[in-house]
Structure formats: structure tokens, C-alpha cells
Amino acid sequence: MENVWLYLLILLLKMIGVITFALLGVPVMVWVERKGSGHIQHRHGPLYVGPFGVMQPIADAIKLFLKEDITPAAVDRPLYFLAPIMAFVPALLTFAVIPIGPHLQVADINIGLLFVMAISSMGVYGLVMAGWSSNNKYALLGGLRTAAQMISYELILGLSVVGVLMYSGSLSLQEIVKAQEGVWLGFIPRWFVIPQFLGWVLFMVAAFAETNRLPFDLPEAETELVAGYHIEYSSMKFALFFMAEYVAMISISCVMVVLFFGGWLPLPVIGPIVESILPVFVVSYLMPVVWFLMKIGFFLFFMVWVRFTFPRLRYDQLMKLGWKVLLPLAIFNVFLSGIIRMAGLT
């Protein structure tokens, strides 16, 4: 019995750790986004709240909590209240299977990747429900666009990882990370991004679309749809959509790092040097998390960078890109990976 309690205690600690990681990531990302966008556009970004404005997201959160929570008269109330939760929960739930370190993972299930795909696609329900229940034309249009966009790009997301599975031979995320251990030619890491470069590019593009980030942020499209599906939301319910988007960004970056960039494995060249001078305890418990954070940090910054560099696509262009360019490419990638993998085996 003691074992069970110990197990539960460790589990709870892990969960708190992972949830903290996911939720703390949100204010950090907000700050990075605002500061980064400021500097990209030759502005300063937030400055006054705390040093370099680091406390700005916290101030925003408090403000949102204390704002008046307006429920428009025409909404469908049950769905209207459920929608933000439906958007937020799946985004957070994917973290249950993401291996932040070799030991820091809530549940290592053998179909981890399938779980991530299945759960993250549930997020679309929240957005569509918000669009529908608001009884607002902009919201409805935004919700519909979201649904069409997310399901279109989910196909590509799903197809782009097939190549990775051919190499890993497992759907467990922990196994996928372990399959990437080792180096080629002494310094090139055996990350799947190298044999699966096309797969990674496809995954990356689809990831931007899945998280409704620019250049694919048509569901929100301030300039034409005002704010899309969450136009009628205020206060903390609005904040939940906002958080859902950022949590989804972080989780998709995590999945990308796990699938293509060796997850918590050390970086090439610097990794072994740094680990050789640190004590064993730190190397085995702390460093994997540090490497992981460094990797996802890069991709999160990349997302901000892209947002303020590219213009938004038109809706027909978006659908055309997804169905007529990326989908055939993704199928071609499956074919190509099969051939390369076969050649590698014989």
C-alpha cells in the first residue's frame, strides 16, 4: 500500500510540475511576444510594469479577472459557458503525455502520439461552440473558418508524422525520443529532422495553422472579422481562449521538439561538453529539462518572429495551400520515407 501512496504522491508532484510549466509558459510567452514584436517593429514594447515590463502579463491577468463578465442576451447560454472550457482543457491535456525529461512525464502511454493528435483535435469543438453559441455573425463566420482550417491542416499534421513513425517503430513519445539517441559522423545528432526534413516542414506549417497563428490566423482576423469566434467573450472567459491558444502553441512546440529534435536529448557539440563538467545528479535529472526548454524556447520565439514577418493569407489561399499543395506533398513524403527507409534497411 505504501507503494501506491508514494506512486500517487510522485504522480501528483509531476502533474503540478507539468501544469505549472504549461501555465507559466503563457505569461512568459505573452511577454516575449509583446517585447519581441516591439523590437521587430522598432518599438520598446511593455516597459513600465516591473523591470523590462516583465510583470505586464500578470497585470493583464489581474485586470482580466476583475473585468465585468458580460453575457450577451442572445447567446445560447450552456454552450456559451462551456466553450472556453472546451477550448482550454484539450490544449492542457496534451501535456499529460509529453516527456519533458526522461522521468518528468505524467503518463507514458504506448499510443502517446495518437493521444496527442486525438486530444489536440478536440480543441476545435470549443472554438466552433463559441462561434455558434455567440449568435453573432462575425463569431459564426470565425467559428466556421476555424473548423474548416483546423481540420484541413490536421490532416497534414497527421500525415507528416507517418515518416517519423517508420523510424521510431513506436507511438510512445518516450520511445520516439530514445530512438533519436546517438550521432552520425561524430557530431550530427540522429534527430529525425534530418531524414524527415520534408515531414518537419509540413508539420511546422500545419502547426502554425493548428494554433491559428499568423500567417494562418484567419479565424480571428481582426481586420475583417473583428475578433472571430471570441468576439462576444469578455473577462476571464476571453482569457481562457487566449490561454488556450498559448498553451496549444507551447504543446505543439513540445511535440515538434519530441518528434523531430530529439526531445530532452542534449544539443549536439555543446551538450557533451557542458554535461562533462557538471555533477552526475544534475546531468541526469536537471539537464534534460534544460535542453528541452532551450529547444522549445527557440521554436516559440520562431513563432513570434514569423507572426511579425509574414502577412496573413486570404481564405481561399489558405485552403488552396492546405489541400492542393501540402496534402499531396504529405502523401509524397509518406512514399519517399518508405523508399528511404527500405533502402536503409537493405
Binding site: 450577451p72 442572445a74 466556421l144 474548416a148 523508399i339
Partner: protein
């Protein structure tokens, strides 16, 4: 610690409960905090300052349905690819598994080209 496959999902269930608690908690808390001062103008549907006309729930473009249906079709094909890809190296001989899947993908591609030629993917 995983005695059975089902027990492996227990943490996910707990995690799910926590996530719902956090999400639901935020919605509930925000209804208590903050002032409540509604008036008819404030709670009317937002339409860029215009007086809202007609219900928002009108018919919308059939292409959204079309995309949804195509998604179901292709997504099921993708799900079929997963177990195949996981077992890819274990086929004996490997070429057999590859050719089998090529036939499957050929049917998929055929359907795709058909959809393309019929203009189901044209949005402009």
C-alpha cells in the same frame, strides 16, 4: 508502475480532472469577481455599433460541409497509415508491406484527384 494498460491511463484521468477544474474554476471565479452592471445596450449582440439585424444563424456555405466530409474520409486513411508505419520495419519482406500500402495510397490518391477535378476544393 504500470500493472496494466488501463492503469497507465489513470494519471491522464486525474490530469483531465485537474484541467477541467482549472478551466471551470476560472469561468466560475470570473463570474463572482468583477462588477455586474448590465444594460440592454451592453448585452446586445455586437455588430460594429450597428443595430443587429436578423439572426446570425443563417444558412452558410455548403463548402464547409464539403471540407468536413473530405476531412473524415482522408483522416480515416491517415489513421490506417499509423499502425502500418509503426510496423514498417517488421514486415517480411519489407517490400511487401510497402507495395501493399502503395496500393492503398493509390486508391486514396485516386479519390483525391477525383475530388480535385470535380472542383470540390476550389474556394475562390
Amino acid at each position: 508502475m504500470q500493472e496494466s494498460a488501463i492503469l497507465g491511463y489513470l494519471p491522464i484521468l486525474i490530469f483531465f480532472a485537474l484541467a477541467v477544474a482549472i478551466g471551470g474554476g476560472m469561468v466560475v471565479v470570473s463570474t463572482f469577481l468583477g462588477r455586474k452592471n448590465p444594460n440592454p445596450e451592453k448585452i446586445s449582440t455586437y455588430e460594429c455599433g450597428m443595430v443587429p439585424f436578423k439572426d446570425a444563424r443563417q444558412r452558410f456555405d455548403v463548402r464547409f460541409y464539403l471540407v468536413a466530409m473530405l476531412f473524415i474520409l482522408f483522416d480515416i486513411e491517415v489513421v490506417f497509415l499509423y499502425p502500418w508505419a509503426v510496423l514498417f520495419t517488421r514486415f517480411d519482406p519489407v517490400i511487401f508491406g510497402f507495395v501493399e500500402m502503395l496500393l492503398f495510397i493509390f486508391v486514396l490518391l485516386f479519390g483525391y484527384i477525383y475530388v480535385l477535378r470535380k472542383g470540390a476544393l476550389d474556394w475562390s
